[in-house]
């Protein structure tokens, strides 16, 4: 969900993708400017926030980083429901992670908020010599599915801030005030009109 104050927008963002694709590393780079060669795996989920200035407004991202393994799939909806934006991450050195990313896109298209801004991130772009997924292939897929696409590297920081900045620019602006009590409220069936889905009404 995204909320707006005086030129200040709060936006819930979720990272999805195969384990090891670099979700946590992207967040860590964006939020703390760090990179860990041996970033430990995410157990359960992690929550971060970071504010970006876009033109004369600010966007405060409330970021959910999730565990990637298929085994924990059943927990994911808890985190992506009500999200205003998602970054679906794959690892350009792994065709499998690309396949899995496409599955996440499908799931979000089916179950997610229809106005969700979706970014498709081909991470580990610094590992050119191990590349298995071409940028063209990913770009075509992204265009067909209405996502915007960037290759990123959490390691070198290439395109990391940019992808968040792009998302911030694309977030729908005029949104009614939201119930502040947390992500679950958007999903109250009776209150669908307050959910992110209707934010442009």
């Amino acid at each position: 969900m995204a909320t707006i104050g005086h030129n200040n927008l709060n936006a819930k963002l979720v990272l999805l993708g195969d384990m090891g694709a670099g979700k946590s590393s992207l967040v860590l780079r964006f939020v703390k400017g760090q990179f860990l060669e041996f970033q430990e795996s995410t157990i359960g989920a992690a929550f971060f926030s970071q504010t970006l200035a876009v033109n004369d407004a600010t966007v405060k991202f409330e970021i959910w980083d999730t565990a990637g393994q298929e085994r924990y799939h059943s927990l994911a909806p808890m985190y992506y429901r009500g999200a205003a934006a998602a970054i679906i991450v794959y690892d350009i050195t792994s065709q499998d992670s690309f396949t899995r990313a496409k599955k996440w896109v499908q799931e979000l298209q089916k179950q997610g908020n229809p106005n969700m801004v979706m970014a498709f991130a081909g991470n580990k772009a610094d590992l050119e010599d191990k590349r298995q997924v071409t940028a063209d292939e990913a770009r075509v897929y992204a265009e067909e599915n209405g996502l915007f696409f960037m290759e990123t590297s959490a390691k070198t920081a290439a395109n990391v801030n940019d992808i968040f900045y792009e998302i911030a620019k694309r977030l729908p602006r005029a949104q009614p005030a939201q119930n502040p009590a947390g992500m679950v409220l958007v999903d109250r069936p009776a209150e669908g009109s307050r959910g992110a889905a209707s934010c442009c009404s």
């Binding site: 384990m19 989920a45 929550f47 085994r71 059943s74 499998d96 992500m183």
Partner: protein, 660 residues
């Protein structure tokens, strides 16, 4: 998981057959309708009623609680109730509180996510009902059969589909709606069977006693929400009418204890409790844990006026002073030797476990003792027997390891599952405890050993496979054991206890988080109410704590200390849940004072990593565990990990069933 992947129950011949028994449930319906109250609303009908459906709150057969399970239709809504029998002679030792705690009061199926059917090789079929909130009821054992009819009746009334991933899991309504409800229902107080605050919504309350039946009314006609005080010696029975009173009663019991303790301890220390030892000690313990040390001394004053914090009904200061005994230095070699007879048997395993519980082990003893407390070696084995077992197990390990080592490249190409598993494991071993000297650096051979053990385990237990978090459990074990085969078998022993944490349907985690919610409700009702009001009752913010036993919360040495303490299963095999309660209680004022919602709570809890005082938490946990006593134990559904291995081997049957 996607709708298209689900197939309907009707493809199952069993179900087609059981549906024909629908007429039987119609008879039951008219039968039960007669018994019900004259106030019954016209549209409430009992579609299914089954006697002798029981829960097993503890592992003791004498403590099982039998009751009647019903499906009730009111308008277009379907409800499930389970009400324990009253005054049953064989269960006379059960308190009313236990009954009330477990009573399922007309839960609507819109609040239910799934039903899992278990068919153990030995014993009764049972089901686990998981709510949309993520909580689950304790397993319901069908002593007189009827699981099929139960499911068939549900299916006749609402959409029930079999999960594509697990044929024993039945999803209530379609996936998409279920997802919506997963979140939306978190706000419904009735998702929890015992409401702690204002009475929960329930069609079976006194003003609409439509679902009461004879069983419940034989006992002095009280409505079925009534509960009596836990019985103390010779005290007259006394009834209370609100479920909230149960915890109040429990707390009163605690406060008696506390008052008693206060008197004794002030004598002991010869000083006034209020400004004495405990207050001072508590502060010095908490101080290093907070960003701004000043906060800790004056938490109450720091709390903003708009967030008044309801005081802890049982401040830990007093409890620790009473119960939580001071931690001891770790067990050392001379003391360890004294526990052994001349041939190496542990003469008094109970005393040993107790000693390790209070102080842990000196590091050099871990290699020898971990295998015993994990149950890999028997306490009464001799040095020679352990040596022998070690060599037998070594070759057994090699055999299993060889199963995957002999898979050729060409074979692996056509063995997706193997490649996937290997891939998962390889991704995780290189990012597990790499800052530790033992695992650090390129081409560290210990990382290869870790990979080999995990891959071998995924062949040893192919159904469970590899799951994120397992490498965290293995890293300290391999570090301590050094030897590959020994580490493997200790890891196996640990996963016999914790395996269900990694089940695909998350049932091991659900039951632990459910138990945790019950324990907080019992031990800190205001905090429970706070979580309820802030949609935090699913306790997912404690997921990491529970899944890998606090591995990420403490530095490596402290994790090893905590684990050996937990593995003693003294004073409870579920002490880890009391550790959760203890930590939450330590930070309750901050959590409530700052009005944390789910997001911020999860962030806060994750960031506590490295800041929790282990000894203080253990001491508090012990105090809480002892104070909660049987009432605490009753909060924990049977089979909640870590299941204590039972000598007769039935444990393994159960585990097998869990992992399916």
């Amino acid at each position: 998981m996607l709708e298209s992947e689900l197939h309907d129950l009707s493809d199952d011949a069993d179900y087609a057959a059981s549906q024909q028994q629908g007429s039987a449930s119609v008879m039951l319906r008219s039968d039960s309708a007669k018994q019900s109250s004259p106030h019954e609303q016209d549209d409430a009908e009992v579609l299914f009623s089954k006697d002798n459906v029981a829960i097993h709150p503890t592992q003791f057969a004498s403590e099982r609680i039998s009751g009647r399970l019903k499906l009730i239709k009111q308008g277009s809504s379907l409800f499930m109730t389970w009400v324990p029998y009253k005054g049953h002679s064989s269960e006379a030792n059960l308190s009313e509180k236990d009954r009330s705690l477990y009573t399922i009061r007309a839960v609507p199926f819109t609040d239910i996510r799934s039903i899992r059917r278990h068919t153990p090789a030995l014993g009764w079929q049972y089901i686990i009902v998981v709510l949309s909130s993520g909580l689950a009821y304790p397993p319901l054992y069908f002593y007189s059969g009827g699981v099929k009819e139960f499911l068939a009746t549900i299916k006749q009334n609402i959409l029930l589909v079999r999960s594509a991933e697990d044929a024993n899991v039945f999803l209530v309504n379609d996936f998409q709606n279920t997802l919506q409800r997963t979140l939306s229902s978190l706000e419904l107080p009735r998702a929890v069977s015992v409401a702690c605050g204002p009475s929960n919504l329930s069609v079976d309350e006194p003003n609409s006693p439509s679902f009461n039946d004879n069983q419940e009314r034989t006992n002095s006609g009280a409505n079925n929400l009534s509960a009596s005080v836990p019985q103390f010696h010779g005290r007259p029975k006394h009834k209370v009418n609100d479920p909230r009173d149960i915890s109040i009663q429990v707390l009163e019991k605690f406060s008696l204890v506390t008052r008693f303790a206060r008197e004794t301890t002030s004598q002991l220390f010869g000083e006034n409790q209020n400004n004495g030892f405990s207050g001072y000690e508590r502060r010095t313990r908490i101080q290093p844990n907070l960003d701004q040390p000043k906060k800790s001394t004056d938490i109450a004053e720091k709390v903003p006026a708009e967030n008044p914090v309801i005081p802890d009904p049982k401040p830990l200061d007093k409890l620790s002073l009473v119960w939580g005994k001071p931690r001891q230095p770790p067990l050392d070699s001379p003391e360890w030797t004294a526990f052994l007879d001349s041939e190496g048997r542990v003469t008094d395993s109970e005393a040993l476990r107790k000693r390790i519980f209070y102080g842990g082990l000196e590091h050099n003893l871990r290699k020898e003792v971990w295998g015993l407390i994990l149950g890999y070696y028997a306490y009464d084995s001799t040095y020679a027997e352990r040596e022998f077992l070690m060599s037998v197990k070594k070759s057994e390990y090699e055999t299993i390891k060889n199963q995957w080592q002999s898979i050729s490249k060409a074979q692996a190409k056509r063995f997706t599952k193997f490649r996937e598993r290997k891939g998962l494991i390889e991704k995780d071993v290189v990012r597990t405890d790499r800052s530790l000297a033992f695992y650090e650096g390129d081409d560290n051979p210990n990382i290869t050993v870790m990979r080999d053990i995990l891959l071998t385990y995924s062949f040893y237990n192919f159904d469970l496979g590899y799951c994120q978090g397992m490498s965290d459990l293995l890293a300290p074990i391999l570090f301590v054991m050094g030897d590959e085969s020994e580490a493997f078998w200790c890891f196996v022993a640990l996963l016999e206890r914790l395996g269900p944490n990694f089940n695909r349907d998350q049932n091991g985690m659900h039951s632990q988080l459910f138990a945790l919610s019950k324990l907080v409700e019992l031990l800190d009702c205001p905090l429970h109410n706070y979580f309820q009001q802030h949609d935090c009752l699913n306790y997912f913010f404690c997921f990491r704590w529970v899944l890998i036993q606090f591995k990420r919360e403490f530095e490596f040495e402290k994790t090893m200390r905590l684990w050996e303490v937990l593995w003693t299963h003294y004073p409870s095999e579920h002490l880890h849940l009391y550790v959760c309660v203890a930590i939450l209680k330590q930070y309750r004022n901050k959590i409530m004072g700052e009005g944390m919602d789910f997001d911020n709570l999860l962030k806060f809890i994750n960031e506590l990593s490295g800041q929790i005082d282990l000894d203080a938490s253990l001491r508090d946990a012990e105090a809480l565990c002892i104070c909660a006593g049987e009432n605490g134990a009753a909060c924990i559904p049977p089979g909640t990990p870590p299941s204590m291995p039972i000598d007769d081997g039935s444990f393994y049957n159960q585990l097998e069933d869990e992992i399916l």
